[in-house]
Structures are given as structure tokens and as C-alpha cells.
Symmetry: C2
Subunit: 320 residues, 2 copies
């Protein structure tokens, strides 16, 4: 019987998590492109979580968190506040395990995101679009329903779930010099750094962050948690700041953090769309943009890039 | 020694063509989507030529045509007039076989397309953006250079090359009830219908055409070639009209032609982008739009869809 993880995931925890969630997630492909290798000057291996269920890696962590709940906890459901991929992932994971999801969403969240969450059978509770309103509304929901709060990243079961993406990448491409992952709240990055440490210790993990939301960069190099104030970037999945759990792992296991601006992110995203014919979201393009901006660092090496997701709002999006 | 095909390709011709071009093209994947199957009410198999070299099936026909030239012909190069995927495909095929490509392009062709063709080392000859200017310019080029004109579709070697996409699809998915291919000049459709006839005779081939460029629909049902006058559609790869060679094959081997309007095409394209996270061009979406518009025809059947390409001009494109 698996239980929720209460400390930094061990290699056994990540193995067990992978076994636990394997049948509920896609093992996503690792794609390559001769054209992009030529442009970047290195050997790129894209781990395509844009093809994951709900279109993002978040499915891994949410599924692991729900799979580890006790039978009694499952009776009361799960809850979170999110307007993004974690909301959809938790809604689908809850449905998979026959329990209820309560999702607190800001009233100005895009309709397409609300529809996705509602489509998985979750109950949406609207609140004012402020962090304070989100937190107080979530607290009221948890009190009313006794649902378990599943934090989008400050949660070791979630981190262990996100770690399975890098674990698969390492299994498929065993000789990587670098793995690059984008960083927002740090769930994907911390999990990636743990998997590299346990399963491919020679591989360096590099974080990619937008300049307009560079709290991880500042926190990492100043040695203390410095959350972003009014972050702004087209990489809308990376607006959140690190949490105590993710920051502690990242400080220990990540080699460096590089930042890029939104123009660089857009150019990288366009290259992938045009040359590889796959849709990646801006948050994923940040990682590829780091390679294009620092070619001398990665020259002729084997680079794994975690493509975190492919959810783009086409009502809004255009390149020009 | 292979030679250019001078009559309707036989099953042996298509086999030989596939062997001839196999090492120069990608064997593209056949993708499926549970979500899109639910929406469409049938079992969809997408043959993804958007992942083909130059981003389109045109690479197959152009490569077959160039591979079949005599050594003497190869000395003088190849020529065509095209502003689209055939131009890029012929340029790359020519480079592959160490010969020269002369591409007549209208002066108003998008810069991105000119750059692609020039990037493969072809010589671009600009002309006024009229059919008459294209043809007279091409004639002058051929006279000057003695290059072999490779027509984008009215050419049996090209048709046999395009037929290899459906041949691969049938090899991968042997029990298809339908294969749907978009129709512009008819090279892909005629080749597809030949492969189905030879390699999977129970499979019906359906053509998909934009309402605004419905010459194939009219020609097919009236029994004579009726070229489009001023065709207009967002499916810019399907503006051309059938030719004598393609029409004759289509008349004999295609079961039906369905048309869709541009709004239906856009909606189908958006569904694929959003749900499958792959980029398909409007000309490809026309085929999926036919399924969505005629669900009762395809209900519960196994449907192959040829995704003809993934070349979208992101300078221009937006959904709204």
C-alpha cells in the first residue's frame, strides 16, 4: 500500500511512483530533429510531455498524489487552486480514481480552461482573481468538504510524479550531458534533478526561466527564497515562485539557472512549431531558448529538453 | 535501371518507386487520438506527412521523379513552376541527386517560401504572378538549360511517388474501411486511390475538397474536366485544378468527393492542433473536416486520413 510521501523522494520512491502511475499516463516519445540540431550545434532530445494526458507533465504529479491517498481520504476528494494545467490534471486524476475534485479558479480564468476542468467532472469554485481570495476560498472548500489539498508543486508526491518524465528520458537516452527543464514553482525542475542524480549522475541539470519571472534565478544565486513580485512573461506556466520544498532540492541538485526574454522564447517556440510541426507552449520553449542563447555551453553535447506541455490558447495567440 | 513512368503506375511500379525513394524520405508515423475518435465517432488513423521532409508528402513524388531521370538528364537539372511545397521538394530532391533545380516563382511569393527553396540550393527565377507568365518563363528556362520539367502532379512518376504514403498507411493499418485524401491537382489523391486499389481493394478512397476550389467535385460528378475559375480557400495547397492524368485515375478509382467550407476546415485544424498537439496545414484539415461533417457516413468505421503537410505561414496565421 503506497502512502503520500513525507520527505524528499528517494530513488525507490521515484521507482515506486513510476510503477504506480504508469498505467494512467502516456509514456511520451523522445523526438529529435536534424534541422534543429544543425541550428543549435548540439544533439537535442525533446521529451514530449506536450503529448501527455491533459497536454502537460502535470498529469504525472497529480496522478501520483491521488494514487497515494488512503481509501478514507479518497471518500472526501481532492482540492486545489489553479487556473492552469495542474487543475485539469488533478480533475482527470480524481476521475480516474473515482473521487471528487474541487478546483478553485479565478473568475477571469479563460473559458477554455474552465471547460477543460469541468469536462473532467470537477467542481469549479470561482473566486476573485487575487492570491488572498484563492487561498481563503480554498480553505473554506477544504473545511466544508474535508477534501485533501494537493499543492501544485510544494508536495513530495507531486515532485516524485514529475520526476518520472526525466526518468523515462534517461532510460531512452542514457548518455545525456545535460537535461534542461523550465522552472516556475519548481515541481518539474526538482523532480528532474532528483532523477538525474539517482539514475544518471553525470548528467547536469540546468533550469530555464523567463527574465520577467526570475525568482528561481535570484533565489538560487542569492541562497534564499526570493519570490517574484508582479512577474510578467508570455510563459504563463512559469509565473509562480519556488516553494520551500522545491527550492531546497533545486539548491542541492541543479547545476545552473539561465534566463531568456520573451522574444527569445517566442523565436524558439516558432522554430519548433515550424521545423518539428509540433505544438509546444511558451513555458516549454523557454528551455529550448536557453540552448539557442548559450550555444557555446552546449556545443556538440547531448542535451535533453523537457517539453513541459502543449496547451496554447489559440483564441489569443499569434506570432506577430 | 529505373526510368520515368509513361503510363498509369502499376502495383509493381509503386513497389519499385517505394524501394527507390525509401532511403531519401521519412517513413512517417500513423497517429491516433482517443479524444478525436470520441468526437468523430469513428477510429481515425492519421498518416502524418506533416513530419515528412520539407513538411509535406510532395517530397515523395519529387524524389521519385528525379530518381528516375537518366544520367544525361541529370546533367541538365530539373525545373518547375510552383510557389508551394512541390518547389521545396524538387529543390531538395535535386540536391540529393547532385543536380540543379530551376524554380519559377511568382514575384509575390512569400519570402519564407523563397528562402526555403533557396536554402536547398535551387535557382529561383521570378516572374509576374500570372499563370501565363509562369508558363512562358518556365518554357524559356527549359529551352535555355535543357532541364527536365517535373510537373507537380500531371506526371506518372510523381503520382507513383505520392502513392507510397497510402501504401505505408495500408501496411501499418491493414483493415481500413476508408482512406480520405485532400484533392488539389490530384497527385496525392490519384496515387492514394491506386495504392488502395492494389494493396487494400476493400478500402474506399474518398476525396476532400474545399467548396471554394471544387473543380474535382464538379469534374467527378459531371464526368469531364472542369477547371476552377478564380478558386478561393484558406487551403492554399488545394487551389490548383485536376489534370488529364490525375482526373482519369480519380474517375476510375475514387468512391466519392465531399466538400467543406473554410470555417469547417479551420475548426477541424484547430481540433487537431489543440488535441493532438501537432501542426497540420489547412489543406490537410480539409480531410478531417469531411469526417466531422459526415459523421453518419463514417460511424464506427476505420478511417485513414492522409495529413498532407504541416507548412503554415505563421507571419499571417491566426485563428480569430
Amino acid at each position: 500500500m503506497s502512502v503520500s510521501l513525507s520527505s524528499v523522494p528517494s530513488s525507490e520512491d521515484i521507482f515506486e511512483s513510476h510503477n504506480l502511475i504508469g498505467r494512467y499516463i502516456h509514456r511520451t516519445p523522445v523526438l529529435t530533429s536534424v534541422l534543429l540540431d544543425e541550428i543549435a550545434g548540439c544533439n537535442l532530445h525533446f521529451k514530449c510531455e506536450n503529448f501527455q494526458k491533459v497536454g502537460a507533465f502535470k498529469m504525472r504529479g497529480a496522478t501520483n498524489a491521488v494514487a497515494r491517498l488512503s481509501e478514507n481520504d479518497l471518500k472526501h476528494g481532492v482540492a486545489t487552486h489553479s487556473s492552469g494545467n495542474h487543475a485539469a490534471a488533478l480533475a482527470l486524476a480524481a476521475r480516474t480514481f473515482g473521487t471528487k475534485a474541487y478546483i478553485v479558479m479565478p473568475s477571469n480564468a479563460p473559458k477554455v480552461k474552465k471547460n477543460a476542468v469541468a469536462g473532467y467532472g470537477a467542481e469549479i469554485i470561482e473566486c476573485e482573481p487575487t492570491l488572498a481570495a484563492r487561498e481563503s476560498t480554498l480553505e473554506a472548500v477544504v473545511q466544508r468538504t474535508k477534501a485533501t489539498f494537493i499543492h501544485p508543486f510544494d508536495n513530495y508526491s507531486v515532485i516524485a510524479g514529475q520526476a518520472t518524465a526525466a526518468k523515462e528520458l534517461i532510460e531512452d537516452i542514457p548518455n545525456l550531458d545535460y537535461i534542461i527543464a523550465p522552472v516556475g514553482g519548481g515541481g518539474l525542475l526538482s523532480g528532474t534533478s532528483l532523477s538525474a542524480h539517482y539514475f544518471s549522475p553525470k548528467t547536469k541539470v540546468i533550469a530555464a526561466e523567463p527574465e520577467g519571472a526570475n525568482d528561481a534565478f535570484k533565489s538560487f544565486y542569492e541562497g534564499k527564497l526570493l519570490p517574484s513580485i508582479n512577474p510578467k512573461t508570455i510563459a504563463d506556466g512559469l509565473l509562480t515562485s519556488l516553494s520551500p520544498k522545491t527550492f531546497a532540492i533545486i539548491q542541492e541538485r541543479v547545476s545552473a539557472i539561465y534566463t531568456v526574454n520573451d522574444e527569445e522564447t517566442k523565436a524558439a517556440m516558432r522554430l519548433v512549431w515550424e521545423r518539428m510541426k509540433i505544438i509546444i507552449e511558451p513555458s516549454s520553449a523557454v528551455a529550448f531558448a536557453v540552448v539557442l542563447k548559450n550555444k557555446e555551453v552546449f556545443a556538440t553535447t547531448n542535451v535533453g529538453i523537457i517539453i513541459s506541455g502543449g496547451n496554447v490558447d489559440f483564441d489569443e495567440f499569434k506570432f506577430n
